[in-house]
C-alpha cells in the first residue's frame, strides 16, 4: 500500500474532499482518518479528489490523513458466503458486535477449509474449468473454477485458509477465496436467449406473470402493499439454487425475521435448510447510506460468483428506491444538477447497469447458469410516475405491480392484473406446451380476460346495481371473485398454501375456470343468477389451504364435488 501525502480538506456527511492524493484513479478506494474508514473516489479536479465515504464520518477533520489504496471497492468471494449475513460492503455481520461502529476488521482466514481437487497435476485448464470442490459447505456444492488458462502445477493438501493457494495454474496461485471488484460484471462465454421459466411458488406470478430465468422483474408497491412479504416468499420458495437477498435500506426487524425463518424452513429439494442456499446482504436503513449504494452491487456480484459455478442464482433487492435515494443524496451533496425530483441525470443509466447484469448464460467453463434479478421499487406516495418506477420499467421483463386497494382488502399477494406484465409469457407458454401442458397459454388468456371483464362490470354495477346486469355478466363478476379468492390469493402463513407447485396451480385454475363455465351453462339453462351467486362455494375457496402444496389430485377431487353440486342447482 503506497502512502501518499493526502489530506482531508472538507467533510459534509458522506462527502469528503481530499487534497494531494497523487496518482489516484476514479473508483479507487481511499482510507480516511485515524479509523481508516473506506471511501471511493467519485471525482477528480486538479489536486482535489471528491470521495464518497462508506462509513459514518463523525469526528473526521480537515488535515486528517488520506491514503490511496490502489484497490477498487471489492469483496472477498469464497466458501462461507452461504447461510451468512453481510453488510453492504460484504463484511460479515454474523459474528460482528451488537452495535456496528465503523472500525471492524475482517478476518477472512479464520476458518480452515478442505479442498478436493477435480484436476491432476499437469492437466491443462481453461478459464471457467472446474478445479475442485470444497466439501462441508452445505447442500450447495462449492466449486472452485480456474481464473486463467494453463497447466496445473501444484495442488494443496489437507486443510487450508480461504486465502491460501489451493491450486497453482502455471505460475498463478488460485486461492479458495479471491477479491473481486463488486461493480465489475464477471465474464461469460455467451448470453442465451431461450426462455426457461423460474418457478416462484406464487400462483399469481407463475400462472399470470411468469418470470424467465436470467431476466429481471420489478415489484413496485406503496407501503403496506405486501412487497417485502412477497419477496420473502420468493426467496423461500423459488426454484433457484442460490438466493441472494439484499436488504437495501430496509428494516432491521425484517432482516432478523428473514434470517430466523430461513434457518427454520427445510429445503425439500436439497434436504438442507433454506438458509443454506441463501446469502443475506443487510444494509438496513440506519446503516451508512453510501454502503447502501454499494449493497446492490455486492449482491449481484455474489450472484454472478455462484452463476460461474453453474448455478441458477436469484438476486432479490429490497428496495432499489432506497439505493436510488442514496445516489440522489450524494449527487445533491456534490452539487450535481438534478434531473427529475432531485435524482441525478445518471439515474436511468445506473438502473440499466444494475438490471442488465441479469442473464442466462453459458459460463466460461461451459455450464448453463443464470442470474435473475428481482428488484422492489418503493414509489413515494404510491406515485407510479416517479422517476425510479418509470425508469425501471424500461429495463425489466416482468412487472409485478402491487395494488393498495387489493392490499387493503387483504388480498395477498396484492399483484394487480391491471398494469402488471410479463413480456416472456408467450415463450413460457411454449415451454409448458413442450412439457405436456398445452393448455397453459389458453388458461392464462381466459383468466386475465375474465379478471379484466369482471373489473369493468364491477364499476358498471356500482352505477346501475348488480341486479340490473344480465345473468351471464353476473357470472363473470362471480368468476372474478372466484379467481381472486380461490386462485390468486395465497396465504403465506398456512404451510399448505405458502408455496404452490406447477401442477397444483394448474389444477386450481382449471377448476375455477370449469366452475365458471358450468355456472354460465346453468344461467343459460334458466337457473336464476341469484341462485348461482348464493351457492356455497366456500369449499372451493378453501381448497388451496386444505390440500398440500403439491396435491393437484386433491384439488381435482374437490372440483368434482363442486361441479356435481352446481349441476344439481335448479
Amino acid at each position: 500500500m503506497e502512502l501518499t501525502g493526502g489530506r482531508v480538506r472538507r467533510v459534509n456527511g458522506p462527502l469528503v474532499e481530499v487534497e494531494n492524493l497523487g496518482d489516484v484513479a476514479m473508483s479507487e478506494v481511499v482510507r480516511l482518518g485515524p479509523e481508516r474508514i473506506a471511501a471511493e473516489v467519485v471525482g477528480l479536479a486538479g489536486a482535489r479528489a471528491t470521495l464518497q465515504a462508506y462509513e459514518y464520518t463523525g469526528g473526521l477533520r480537515p488535515g486528517d490523513r488520506a491514503e490511496a489504496t490502489g484497490d477498487r471497492l471489492a469483496g472477498l468471494f469464497g466458501p462461507g458466503l452461504l447461510g451468512q449475513a453481510f453488510d453492504g460492503l460484504l463484511r460479515p455481520l454474523s459474528g460482528a458486535p451488537v452495535w456496528l461502529t465503523p472500525h471492524r476488521e475482517v478476518d477472512a482466514a479464520a476458518r480452515a477449509w478442505h479442498f478436493e481437487p477435480a484436476v491432476a497435476l499437469g492437466d491443462q485448464v481453461e478459464p471457467g474449468d472446474l478445479l475442485g470442490t470444497v466439501p462441508q459447505t452445505g447442500p450447495v456444492e462449492h466449486r472452485l473454477v480456474a481464473p486463467v488458462r494453463g497447466p496445473v502445477t501444484w495442488l494443496a493438501d489437507g486443510s487450508l485458509g480461504a486465502t491460501d493457494p489451493a491450486v497453482r495454474v502455471g505460475d498463478i496461485p488460485v486461492p479458495l477465496a479471491h477479491r473481486w471488484p463488486i461493480r465489475v460484471p464477471r465474464r461469460f462465454r455467451e448470453r442465451l436467449s431461450d426462455v426457461v421459466p423460474l418457478h416462484t411458488g406464487q400462483r399469481v406470478l407463475d400462472l399470470l406473470y411468469p418470470i424467465a430465468r436470467g431476466t429481471a422483474a420489478a415489484v413496485p408497491g406503496g407501503f403496506g402493499t405486501g412487497k417485502t412479504l412477497l419477496l420473502q416468499q420468493i426467496a423461500k420458495w423459488s426454484e433457484a439454487d442460490v438466493v441472494v437477498y439484499v436488504g437495501c435500506g430496509e428494516r432491521g426487524n425484517e432482516m432478523a425475521e428473514v434470517l430466523d425463518e430461513l434457518a427454520q424452513v427445510p429445503d425439500e429439494r436439497t434436504g438442507g435448510r433454506l438458509v443454506d442456499r441463501t446469502v443475506i446482504i443487510a444494509n438496513t436503513s440506519n446503516m451508512p447510506m453510501m454502503a447502501r449504494e454499494a449493497s446492490i452491487h455486492s449482491g449481484i456480484a455474489v450472484a454472478e460468483y455462484f452463476r460461474d459455478m453453474g448455478y441458477d442464482a436469484v438476486v432479490i433487492a429490497d428496495s432499489t428506491s432506497r439505493w436510488a435515494e442514496a445516489l440522489r443524496e450524494f449527487a445533491n451533496r456534490t452539487g450535481d444538477l438534478p434531473a427529475e425530483e432531485g435524482y441525478p441525470a445518471t439515474l436511468a443509466s445506473q438502473l440499466a447497469a444494475f438490471y442488465e447484469r441479469a442473464g442466462r448464460v453459458v459460463t466460461l467453463g461451459g455450464r448453463t447458469a443464470s442470474t435473475t434479478v428481482i428488484g422492489a421499487v418503493s414509489p413515494p406516495g404510491g406515485d407510479m410516475t416517479e422517476p425510479v418506477t418509470t425508469a425501471t420499467q424500461r429495463f425489466i421483463r416482468s412487472l409485478w405491480l402491487l395494488d393498495r386497494e387489493l392490499a387493503y382488502a387483504r388480498h395477498y399477494p396484492a399483484v394487480t392484473w391491471a398494469g402488471s406484465f410479463a413480456r416472456d409469457a408467450d415463450a413460457v407458454g411454449l415451454w409448458h406446451a413442450a412439457r405436456g401442458d398445452p393448455g397453459w397459454r389458453a388458461r392464462r388468456a381466459t383468466a386475465t380476460a375474465l379478471l379484466a371483464e369482471a373489473d369493468r362490470l364491477a364499476s358498471l354495477a356500482e352505477v346501475i346495481g348488480t341486479a340490473s346486469l344480465p345473468a351471464h355478466e353476473r357470472v363473470v363478476l362471480l368468476a372474478g371473485q372466484l379467481l381472486r379468492d380461490a386462485v390468486l390469493q395465497q396465504n403465506a402463513l398456512v404451510a399448505n398454501d405458502a408455496s404452490c407447485s406447477v401442477a397444483k396451480g394448474a389444477a386450481l385454475l382449471t377448476t375455477v375456470l370449469d366452475v365458471v363455465e358450468t355456472c354460465q351453462r346453468l344461467v343459460a339453462r334458466g337457473v336464476a343468477a341469484t341462485t348461482v351467486e348464493e351457492a356455497d362455494l366456500a369449499d372451493l375457496v378453501r381448497v388451496r389451504e386444505e390440500v398440500g402444496p403439491d396435491d393437484a389430485d386433491g384439488v381435482l377431487r374437490r372440483r368434482e364435488e363442486v361441479l356435481a353440486r352446481l349441476e344439481a342447482l335448479t
Binding site: 459534509n12 480537515p62 458486535p97 407501503f223 440506519n286 432506497r322 418503493s378 382488502a409 387483504r410 341469484t530
Partner: protein
Amino acid sequence: MTAERVPDPGVAPGAVDLGAEIAFSDVRELRGPLLVVGDVTGVGWDEFATVDVDGGVSRHGLVLEVDDDLAVLQVLEGTAGLVPGGVWVRFAGRPLQVRVSTDWYGRVCNGRGEPLDGGPPVGGSPRPVAGWPLNPTRREPPREAVLTGVSVLDTLTTLVRGQKLPIFSVPGLPHLTLATQIAARATTAGEGFRVVFAGMGLTHADIAYVRDRLEERSAAGELVLLLNAADDPVIERVLTPRIALTVAEHLAFEHGDDVLVVMSDMTSYAEAVREVAAARREIPARRGYPGYLYSDLASLYERCGRVRGRPGSVTVVPVLTMPSGDITHPVPDLTGYITEGQIVLSPEVDARGVYPPVDVLSSLSRLMRSGAGPGRTREDHLPVAAQVLAALARARQAAELGELVGVAALSQTDRAYLTFRETVERDLFAQGGDEGRPMGDSLDRAWRALDVLPRRELTMLPAAMVAEHLGGVS
C-alpha cells in the same frame, strides 16, 4: 480573531456533556439556524459545540460541515439575537452525548434533556445521542404482544414488543388521547414496563394534557418525559427524539426494561429538519423536504427492537399529523415505508362518533402475525382479525353501492354486511378514552359481531372454529 480562552460560563448543561477547551469567535455568517465560524482548527464533522453568548445564556450546536478552517454549525436554540463578535464557539471534540442511567425514571425534562421538574441534572454514563446501528443479525425478531387495552388495536393491529408502529392522524383528531391511552395502559407479559414520551412542538395545553394523562405512570416512576413546546426553539426538536431513544436503549438493553417510546409530533420534527436543509440551500426532493429525510427518520425509528440474548425491548410509537389528511405527504409516506405498519385515524370515523377513530382498512401491523395467535394471544385471533377485515372491506363496497342505488336495492347479503359494520363499530371499536379491555373480551366482541353475517360468508375462518364460537348453522 484567533482562539481565545473564555471562562466556563457555568451554565448547567443538563444532560448535555461538555468538555471543550478552545473558543473560536470569528463568526463569518449567521443564516437561519446556521452559524458559520472561521479560523477553526481540529474540528471534526458532527461534533457538538457550545455557543457562549455575550451577556446571555449559552446555546448549543452541531457541526454540519467542515471545510478547511470553516465550520458550519446548526444552533439548536436558533440564532436570534446573536451578534458576530459577541459569540464564542467551543467544540467538544466528540458528538453530542447524553448521560444515561435509571435516574431517568420519573423525570420531566425539556427537549434538550434539561430538567423541568426542579430536580438535579440526570447523571450517568455518557452515550452519543445518534447511537450506532444495531447489527441486524443480533436482533431478536419481535414475538410477544404489547397489550394496549384498546380493542380495535389489540384485535386488528396488534402492537408487538420491539415494533415501530406509527399513528397517522390529522389535526383535530384525538391522536394525543389515543397515544396517551396507549402509554398509560400498555403492558407486556414481563416485568419493568416503562414509557419514554418525547413531545415535539406540542402546545402548552397539549403538554398539560399529556402530563395529566400520564400522571399515574409518572408517579410510579415508570415514565420519562421530554418536552419541546411549540414555542421552544425549533431546531432543538432535531435532538429531542434522539435523547429519548438513547435513554430508552439504555433502559432496555442494559437494564432489561420493556420501553415504549411515544414520539409526537413527527411532522414538527420533520419541519425542523427541513428548516435546516433550506438554510443550507440543499436541493429539495419532495415538497421541499430534503432527499435524506427517509434516512433521517430511519435513524430514529430503526432504534426499536430487541437484542438476542438480552431482556428488554424498545417499542416505538411515533405520532404524526398528516397535513390536510394527505397520506402521500412525505412525512407519513416515508414513515410508512420505514415502520412496521401504521394506525390511521380518520375524520369520517370520528364524525360517526367512534373513539378511537381508527380507519381499520388503512391500518396494519406487519408484525401482528408473529405477535398474535396460539400461545401468544389466542388461537382464534389471526383468523378472526382476517375475517373482520375482509368483512369490513366488503361492507365498504356495499356501502358505496348503497349510496348509489339505495340500501333497499342491495342484496340481502350486502345488507348483512352493513349491519355487521354498525355492530362491530359500536360493540368492538368504540371504547372510552380511559377504558382498558382485556384481549379475551375484545375477541369475544368480534365473534358476536361476526354472528350477524351468514355462515357461508365466513370463509376466512376454519369451519370447526366457527362451530365452536357460534354454535350450529344460523
